[in-house]
Amino acid sequence: MLGEFMQYLFSGLTSGAIYALVGLGFALIYNASHVINFAQGEFVMLGGMSTVFLSAAGVPLPVAVLLAVAATAVVGLALEKLAVEQTKNASVVTLIIITIGASIVIRGAAQVIFDKQFHTLPAFTGDAPINVLGATITPQTLWVLGVTVAIVLVLQWFFNRTLWGKAILATSVNPLAAKLVGINTNLVLLISFGLSAALGAIAGVLITPITSTNFEVGIMLGLKGFSAAILGGLGSPFGAVAGGLILGIVEAFGAGYISSEYKDAMAFVIILLALFFMPSGLFGKRGTDRV
C-alpha cells in the first residue's frame, strides 16, 4: 500500500503547496503591518485572470504573466495608499472590514472587466505525470512547490540580510520606534502591500493550470491561505508554508483513509486543536501583551 500512501501524500502536497503559496502573501503583509489582508485571495484571482485574458488578447504568455503581476501589484499599492493608509488609528476589526470591502470591490470589478466563466492556462512543462514509487505527481505541482521554496528563501534573505527587510520587520515590531530611527513607515507599508500583491499574482499564475480560475476563485483560496498562515504562526513565512502543507496533507489523508465528506472539517479540527495547545500557531512568536 506504499503506492496508495505516496499518492495521498502527493495529493496533499499539491493542495498544500497552493495553500502555502497563498499563505505567504498573508504572512508578508502581516509582517509589515499586523494587518490581515482579506483581499489576498483576490490578488491570486487577479494574477490568474489577467494572465488568461492578456494571453487570449494575443500577448505572449511570459509578457502576459509579467503584466498581470505588475497590474496586481498596482492594485495592492492602491489598496494600501487609498484605504489602509487613510485609517492609521483604526482598530484591527475595522481594518479587517476594509480589506473585506476591498475584496468585494475587486471581485465586483473582475466580473465586469473579465467574465463569470472558468478559464485555465496550459501547464508550464506539459501534463505528463511523473511516476514515483507507484504514485504520480504532475510537473505543475513541482513548479508550485519549487517556486514556494524559492520565495521562502528569498524572503528569509530579504528580511534578515537587507536594509529594507529589516525596516519592514522593525516597522511591524514597533512603528513609532521605527519612525524615530528614520524609517519611512508609510513607504514600508506601501512596499509590503505591493510585494504581497505581486506574490499573490504569481501564485495565481502558477496554480491556474491545476485548478483553473474564475472571478470568485479567490474566496476559498484566501480562506485556505489564511488558515495556513494562522496554523503556521502569523508573520513567519516558513510557518505559512508549513501550515499550508500540513493542511493539504491532512485533507488528502483524511479523504483517503477516513472520509472524503469530512476532510475539510478534519483540517479545521486540526487547526483548532493546534491553536488550543499552541495559541500562536506552530511557529509564531509567543506574544506578550503590551499594557
Binding site: D127, N214, M220
Partner: protein
C-alpha cells in the same frame, strides 16, 4: 450636554428610518402597458456560470421579441434580480417581484434550493412559475403553479445507467461534488441504481472548490471490480477530477453529468477530456444532428443566436433552460390571449409538443416537466469536441 445630543441623534435616527421605509423602491402601478416577466437568478456566486448565460439568454430574446412587436401586441419587460445562489435572498426578491414590481409571471431560479424555497410563495400568489433548476422535488409532487424546463437529476442518472448497462457495466464508483447539484444527483443516482442492476462499490465526494481529487480517485482505483466511474458535479470540480483521473491512469471509462454541458469543460480538462461520456441536451451537438431530427432547427437557431452575440463556443444547455422557459411562458400567453394568471397557467399546462432546446415538452395536470428520457442524448468527447453516441 450629552442629553441634548442624544435627542438630536434620536431624531436623526428616526428620520433615517422613515426615509429608508419611504424610499424603498416604490411600487406605483403604471398604465400596465408592458408584460412584466420577473426572474431571479444566481448571476454571481458559485452557480454564476449557470445564472450568467440564463440572464444573457433572457435579455437577448426579450430584446428580439420586442423588436418583432412583443407578445399580444405588448412589449415585454424583464425585471431581474441576482440572488447569488442564496435561497433566503431568493425569497425576498420573489416577494419584491410579486408585491412591488407586480410582475405577470416569474421564470428563473438557477439552483434547486432557490426554486424550492420560493415555491410556497408562488402557490400563495397564484402566479405561474417556471424553474430552471434540476431537482425532481420541484415537480414531484406536482404543484399547481410550478413548472420546470431542465431534465431532472434522476433522468440524467437513468440515461447514464442505461448506457452503462448497454456496455455490460454493473459495478461502478461515484465521486460527487458536495454542492447542491452534485449532492442531489448523488442521492438520486443511488436511488435508481438498483433498477438498472448497478452496484455502487465506492462513493466519494469532494468540495466544490477543491484543488486536487487524486486522494479520492486513488481510493476508487484501488477498489476491486470498478468497471466505470461517475462524477456528478458542476463548475471546475469535474475538470479537475477528469485531469486527476488521467494522471492516475485509471482505465475504467469516466462518465460526467449534464452539469458539465458547455464547451468550457473541454477547454478546462484539455486532452484529459477525451473519451469522457455524458448525457446532455441536443443543443451541444446542434449541427451534428441528422437533418431529419425535429429538434435540429430550434437548437441550431438558438446556438447561432447566442454564439453570435457572446462568442463561439459560449453556448451551454443552462442558457437553453432559460430559452425554453421564456418560449413556453410567452407561448402560453399567446394561446391564452391574455396575461391573466389563471388563464396563462391553464394554457401552460396544455402545452403539447413544444420543441425546445431541452427536448419536446408536453405538460399535463400530472406532469409539469413534460420531458422524456429521449430528450437526453449520450455524448462522448472526441478530438476536443462533442460526438453523438450511436
Amino acid at each position: 450636554m450629552s442629553v441634548r445630543l442624544t435627542r438630536r441623534m434620536v431624531l436623526a435616527a428616526a428620520a433615517a428610518f422613515g426615509l429608508t421605509a419611504a424610499a424603498l423602491p416604490g411600487g406605483a402601478a403604471t398604465a400596465a402597458e408592458p408584460i412584466k416577466i420577473g426572474t431571479f437568478l444566481a448571476v454571481t456566486g458559485p452557480a454564476s456560470f449557470l445564472g450568467d448565460p440564463e440572464l444573457k439568454t433572457l435579455q437577448m430574446y426579450i430584446d428580439s421579441m420586442n423588436a418583432e412587436g412583443g407578445v399580444l401586441g405588448r412589449p415585454l419587460e424583464l425585471v431581474h434580480y441576482d440572488t447569488g445562489g442564496d435561497p433566503n435572498k431568493a425569497v425576498t426578491f420573489v416577494k419584491r417581484l410579486i408585491d412591488q414590481d407586480e410582475v405577470d409571471v416569474i421564470i428563473g431560479g438557477t439552483s434547486s434550493g432557490e426554486s424550492l424555497a420560493v415555491m410556497p410563495l408562488m402557490e400563495r400568489a397564484e402566479m405561474p412559475f417556471i424553474s430552471f433548476a434540476g431537482s425532481k422535488k420541484i415537480v414531484d409532487p406536482v404543484q399547481k403553479w410550478v413548472f420546470k424546463t431542465p431534465h431532472t437529476d434522476t433522468m440524467a442518472c437513468e440515461k447514464i445507467f442505461e448506457d452503462m448497462k448497454a456496455q455490460g457495466t454493473t459495478k461502478i464508483a461515484m465521486i460527487s461534488g458536495t454542492d447542491g447539484f452534485g449532492a442531489s444527483m448523488q442521492a438520486e443516482c443511488k436511488g435508481v441504481a438498483g433498477k438498472y442492476g448497478i452496484e455502487i462499490l465506492a462513493d466519494e465526494t469532494y468540495g466544490p472548490k477543491d484543488t486536487d481529487m487524486t486522494a479520492q480517485l486513488t481510493k476508487i482505483k484501488n477498489t476491486d471490480g470498478v468497471q466505470a466511474v461517475l462524477n456528478p458535479g458542476f463548475g471546475q470540480g469535474p475538470a479537475i477530477v477528469t485531469k486527476n483521473y488521467r494522471q492516475l491512469q485509471i482505465a475504467a471509462p469516466l462518465y460526467q453529468s449534464h452539469g458539465v454541458a458547455s464547451k468550457q469543460f473541454i477547454e478546462l480538462a484539455g486532452d484529459a477530456a477525451e473519451g469522457v461520456r455524458l448525457p446532455a441536451a441536443a443543443l451541444l451537438v446542434a449541427e451534428k444532428l441528422p437533418d431529419s431530427d425535429p429538434q435540429k432547427p430550434v437548437v441550431v437557431a438558438y446556438k447561432q443566436a447566442y454564439e453570435g452575440k457572446h462568442g463561439a463556443g459560449s453556448v451551454s444547455t443552462f442558457g437553453g433552460h432559460a430559452y425554453d422557459g421564456l418560449m413556453l411562458i410567452t407561448d402560453a400567453m399567446k394561446r391564452a390571449g391574455s396575461t391573466d394568471k389563471a388563464a396563462v397557467r391553464d394554457a401552460l399546462e396544455q402545452t403539447k409538443g413544444y420543441m425546445g432546446t431541452g427536448g419536446e415538452v408536453t405538460f399535463s395536470a400530472a406532469d409539469h416537466l413534460g420531458l422524456t428520457l429521449d430528450a437526453f442524448r449520450m455524448l462522448e468527447i472526441k478530438n476536443g469536441d462533442w460526438a453523438l453516441i450511436q
